[in-house]
Amino acid sequence: MGLPLMIKRSSNNNDNKNNVVELSRVAVSDTHGEDSPYFAGWKAYDENPYDETHNPSGVIQMGLAENQVSFDLLETYLEKKNPEGSMWGSKGAPGFRENALFQDYHGLKTFRQAMASFMEQIRGGKSRFDPDRIVLTAGATAANELLTFILADPNDALLVPTPYYPGFDRDLRWRTGVKIVPIHCDSSNNFQITPEALESAYQTACGANIRVRGVLITNPSNPLGATVQKKVLEDLLDFCVRKNIHLVSDEIYSGSVFHASEFTSVAEIVENIDDVSVKERVHIVYSLSKDLGLPGFRVGTIYSYNDNVVKTARRMSSFTLVSSQTQHMLASMLSDVEFTEKYIRINRERLRRRYETIVEGLKKAGIECLKGNAGLFCWMNLGFLLEKKTKDGELQLWDVILKELKLNISPGTSCHCSEFGWFRVCFANMSENTLEIALMRIHEFMDRRRKF
């Protein structure tokens, strides 16, 4: 048996000691975006977090789109329908053994069926979902990134309508090397996507020699808090067919539309199309983080009408599998149609009421919001308060709101909005009391300003 040679360290090996070992471009890049204002506000919150009892003058977090309004429903369900933890698989339920070993990237069939059923319910049965087209990922963040890896090569681009979720800059671009080319939308038509804007974005990419591989929309939109109109969806699909590119619809807030009838999923558009070459460019992303308020569970899905994409995504999902224990736990809950029907209905209602509260409250303070009908936030217009309608002007105002009002909200520039002065304000991650306090601070601020 050969012995390994010991390397003789020569005496003038000092170079090695000073040579710092290199990291990759991915590791040192700042595409994670955590230096942007979107995240700087979080730091301020972390350092001085509001607490109803212990820190009533702290920073109120209105920059996190989390849904806590229906926690009680979940808690009750988990406690009542879960005698002796049977749902967790502890007492001889379809067993621990299967869960422990199960690392099949196909995902538990019962769970996929439950997800398909849940997604159908949210869409009021207007479209069918085939459990075999569901690919599970550890959260929608992973789903969006995975789809990007599959649909686009490094230096290709996805077209994304502005304003968009700031996290896309990181999720779609960081490891994938794919670019985002914005589709500019503005308030003249409530930020809806127009065919002209689509074409313009496409031409911009072509002009820069960038190959466009798809369009990625969020429906309902984040940060607008509004559903995408059916006509717009049809135009979008038409555009994607003409350019022979993909269409990704991130429908992560679909269960948070206040009135179910106002939501049209791209699934509904595709449902009646037989032509595979049209259908197979459509992909939907979903997750339980927003509608079901379970971001900690890390459950996301890619639903694709493209067999090749389903197969590829499944194999690549090994980098982002959902724990079998989690799948097992949720399968029974999501298949309980009585529970999910009630949950979806009550959750929508509560979100609607919150939305009305905040919009009314802002109106009384002289602030208008975009007419929204979905999501966990509203899109507030403070353009009239800006000294200069520029990015700096907006950030200055944002800073004042953070430091004086102690409210962390998200500035439109972090969402790449081409109009200045818009802000996204989240309302579902706090108690009603806290929301009142936030509104009060805004009132006082506006009163003070009027006095000058």
């Binding site: 090695n16 808690e75 406690e79 070993l101 490891r175 197979e280 971001p295 090994s318 724990s323 989690t326």
Partner: protein, 495 residues
Amino acid sequence: MRLIVPLRGVIQGRGGLFVGSLIPCCLFYFLQLYLKGRRPPPSDPTELPRTSSRSNLFSRGNSIGRVRVSSRAAPVAKPSDSPYYIGLERVKTDPYDRILNTNGIIQLGLAESTLCFDLLQRWMSENLMESIMQSDHGEFDISSIAMYKPFEGLLELRVAFADFMSRIMGGKVSFDPSNMVITAGGTPAIEVLAFCLADHGNAFLIPTPYYPGFERDIKFRTGVELIPVHCRSSDNFTVTVSALEQAFNQARKRGSKVSGILFSNPSNPVGNILSRETLHAILEFAQEKNIHVISDEIFAGSVYGDKEFVSMAEIADSGEIDKSRVHIIYALSKDLSIPGFRAGVIYSFHEDVVNAAKKLMRFSSVSVPVQRILISLLSDVKFIEDYMTTHRQRIRNKHIRFVEGLKQLGIPCAESGGGLYCWVDMSSLLTSYSEKGELELFEKLLSVAKINATPGTACFCIEPGWFRCCFTALADEDIPVIMDRMRQLAESIRS
């Protein structure tokens, strides 16, 4: 692999023959790579102009093409040509069952252990619910499992993991929870490290034979290459510095930038425990070349031999090497038999790597309720110590039985001290001492003996005839069945 085999013969030649043969071979090799890179994405055979029979909404009168996936995605959906995956698929078509399907294919191709399930099951039935549902006030508070938590894992979990890892590695090294990032399994752990330590097109040196899954884990999306460093049975497949040196220099000549060395310890598929000397040598080599070291220690708790396991963390701690180049991967899939839970670890001495990995965990983090279960499990010191002791004993016993059974058939195994498998020398059963002969034997094992064992080719072993056989999902009664089938096959070949 396919191109390297003929080249190897040339490289081992001498002088003029060497140069005269090498250059055209290299040119041919690079021509292939160039053409491969230039080839457009595989076109769909049905891509013909279509006349519209669809709704007016999408009718343009012109044809529309089939939409394509990216070129990095294109190869992924294709059926694998690696015997590793082929074998796993074959078992699914006809899986052995002690009662229901006694003629089925016995799975020896998956490194999983079920030897201590009884212990785990009991723990889970007694503790699972409490560990998820419990909160500080004693009542169930859903926010403890539902809300966003740091993607790199709860601090309590990192603390519990650090303690657990230290324990199973013999208590000789301690792990700092702030250098640790929890991942959704070992698979994302290795991928994230590859993303952080190497650019697209760079390479890792990797001693052969190696775990076939690394081909996907590293190459699917990162674009990092794997350069094999061949090890031989004469060294019991232990990597030598001269082999590392040779591979490094060849890579440099080809214009490949080597970013690091990746190896498993205990090794997979051989089951070697690397000695302190070897570990030191690897680290010093890395220091000299200024590259990274990734030690995959996923089987650290499955050590059944007499040799002590030493973690790279222990070597890194001692002495003059810049330890920021040292990174360790771990997961609970093997030692604790819960691959389905998806819980792994990146442990790095490099602060920037830890920070980048933390941010990347948003793509691969562990479900919070599962984290809560694991905190309870890993902190239950008494249970863990009992479990580890029992698990080791049971692996050892199974190993002895299995190896002894093969020995009686005249089939030897490599020396091993860890892992859930043994590295079996079936070269005496080959009709030709070659890769072709080995693949023929693989097929005979599957179709005649109805046994799935992973051939060395799938692990990039340069010596034909070796097979990895995983034995830790077998009951004692399965072993005579296997040996009987092997005996029949051996007899039919040798006659």
